[in-house]
């Protein structure tokens, strides 16, 4: 066991607190100590609530001393993307417009984690209104990658990726509408779980696109993510789009082997135009999966460019509708790039939007037919490792959308199909930047992805590596 509690995994620290190896105060103080060291370098936190966190930790310790264990995360300090409403707390959504917005309700996902016993450390930075893939934020500053602070974290869950990578929090909620969990996981070298649309309630989470938004965690390991998804998943009267299906025991899937499983490798699109180091890591990942007993098969997928286009049409239209009032009343209070992207949605005819929504069923059916017989598909999260903050600071320039499209090329099709996708750390570049891969599964088969991801992490240590403070 590490003598620095903040370096432990979520599952390990929860056991350590419940078993009284560490108090919640000791664990919380360890996180706060690291936050004090790292925050000036990475700008991952929106708000740090040290006194309140320590008071909550003391309360958790007092309860435990009386034999009261509130849940499987009793006394574990966490921080989340600043778009999950927490009654009485300011929730900025990374924006100037909501700089002083105080939530009057608590999001279902957050409440379920609170019910499991978590302690609030504060809130995490994010891209303005979760609408951007790089991690830039004109109002609160760019979040920086702990592996190299000149590089992006990816977005929009930028603070979540950075804070988990630097071990400032054991896990963090993100959200994924076009890749916003998987890209920070890939660029920052942590595990991120974009869940099936409809698995976890979106009630009380800031909306961007009602058809594409998904809630999910970023954490050190697949096991950590499995625990969190299991706690948050399931029907919610406050979000009628949430599935009524029973929630499986995802933790039970963390011990399965890969023998007898088939993993598909796309023959096109996801393997085209890759940075050479991403291509190398993909090959190494496939070799590891094969070595662990999986059968690797090639899959010919339908044209993914059409899915990307359909995703952009749905996302742009729905985002513009959510923001129309502020686009009229407060356009000057948006950052240039987010306003630009919101304006794009004004130019999509209703018929085109509805065609994109109507095609979703047939497109998913065609994808599922193409991957029939496989347990998951493996693909890069992005064609490249983290680029620099300077070179991706494109604002609202003419080529901004092209830059965004290139970064999100491999994530958007999965959002359109509504499928689960688990991003796991799978290697590093020669210059020390992380590279992740996504395991794409069938709808509501998160357990299948957990089985594969956990087996990969038992065979490798990429998820356990920690960046050094320069």
């Amino acid at each position: 066991m590490s003598d620095e509690p903040a370096l432990m995994s979520l599952v390990a620290v929860a056991k350590a607190i419940a078993g009284k190896k560490f108090s919640s105060r000791e664990v919380t103080q360890s996180c706060l100590d690291r936050i004090a060291q790292w925050q000036p370098r990475v700008n991952a936190f929106m708000a740090i609530e040290a006194d309140a966190a320590l008071a909550a930790a003391d309360a958790a310790d007092a309860a435990l001393a009386k034999g009261e264990l509130s849940g499987p995360l009793h006394g574990v300090p966490l921080a989340h993307k600043d778009m999950y409403y927490d009654a009485g707390k300011v929730v900025t959504c990374g924006s100037k417009i909501r700089r002083d917005f105080v939530a009057t309700t608590t999001s279902t996902a957050l409440q379920r984690l609170k019910d499991a016993g978590t302690v609030r450390l504060g809130s995490l930075q994010m891209v303005e209104f979760a609408y951007g893939p790089t991690g830039h934020n004109p109002h609160y500053g760019a979040v920086r990658n702990p592996w190299n602070v000149d590089h992006i974290t990816g977005g929009s869950s930028s603070g979540s990726g950075s804070a988990v990578a630097a071990r400032l929090t054991f896990a963090a909620l993100g959200s994924d509408t076009g890749g916003s969990i998987r890209m920070p996981a890939h660029f920052c070298g942590v595990t991120g779980f974009k869940t099936t649309v409809g698995l976890i309630s979106r009630a009380g989470a800031m909306p961007l696109s009602q058809s594409l938004d998904t809630v999910g965690p970023l954490a050190q390991s697949v096991e950590d993510c499995a625990l969190l998804v299991g706690l948050m998943a399931g029907a919610d009267p406050e979000d009628p789009t949430t599935s009524m299906l029973p929630v499986p025991n995802y933790m039970a899937a963390t011990t399965g082997s890969l023998k007898g499983l088939k993993i598909g490798v796309p023959t096109t699109f996801y393997v085209d135009d890759l940075d050479s180091e991403v291509a190398r890591v993909l090959d190494e990942t496939i070799a590891t999966l094969r070595g662990e007993g999986a059968e690797i098969v090639k899959v010919d997928l339908p044209d993914q460019r059409q899915l990307t286009a359909a995703c952009q049409i749905v996302l742009a239209t729905e985002a513009a509708a959510f923001h129309k009032r502020w686009m009229i009343e407060r356009p000057q209070d948006y950052g240039a790039q987010v306003l630009m992207r919101l304006q794009n949605g004004l130019a999509i005819p209703a018929v085109t939007y509805l065609e994109a929504m109507r095609w979703r069923g047939p497109a998913l059916a065609a994808y599922l037919a193409a991957v029939e017989g496989t347990d998951a598909v493996i693909a890069p999260v992005a064609p490249m490792p983290a680029v620099t903050i300077a070179e991706s600071d494109v604002g609202n320039s003419l080529d901004a959308e092209a830059v965004i499209q290139r970064i999100t090329k491999f994530t958007r099709p999965i959002n359109y199909l509504g499928l689960p996708s688990l991003s796991i750390p799978t290697g590093f570049t020669k210059s020390g930047l992380p590279v992740g891969m996504q395991l794409i599964g069938r709808a509501f088969d998160e357990a299948g992805l957990v089985r594969i991801g956990a087996a990969f992490q038992r065979a490798t240590d990429y998820h356990q590596r920690v960046p050094k403070l320069a």
């Binding site: 129309k324 630009m340 794009n344 004004l346 999509i348 065609e355 069923g361 709808a443």
Partner: protein
């Protein structure tokens, strides 16, 4: 389906109630154009008896079985 040009975009933003000037309209046309191009093979080909809710039927079919 063809991508809208700047003039058409300007008209659409006017109708949407969030009017934009010519420069912004040109920029929007440039940004959103590739999405129209990418979706063109699908647009205008879908059968009438197809609702957006068909997505949920496909998504949950295997699980419910």
């Amino acid at each position: 389906m063809t991508r809208p040009d700047a003039k058409q975009v300007k008209a659409m933003t006017d109708v949407a109630g969030v009017p934009q000037d010519s420069d912004v309209s040109a920029r929007i046309a440039n940004s959103i154009g590739p999405a129209f191009d990418g979706f063109a093979p699908v647009s205008g080909t879908l059968p009438m008896d197809l609702e957006p809710a068909s997505f949920l039927l496909v998504q949950r079919a295997k699980v419910l079985k």
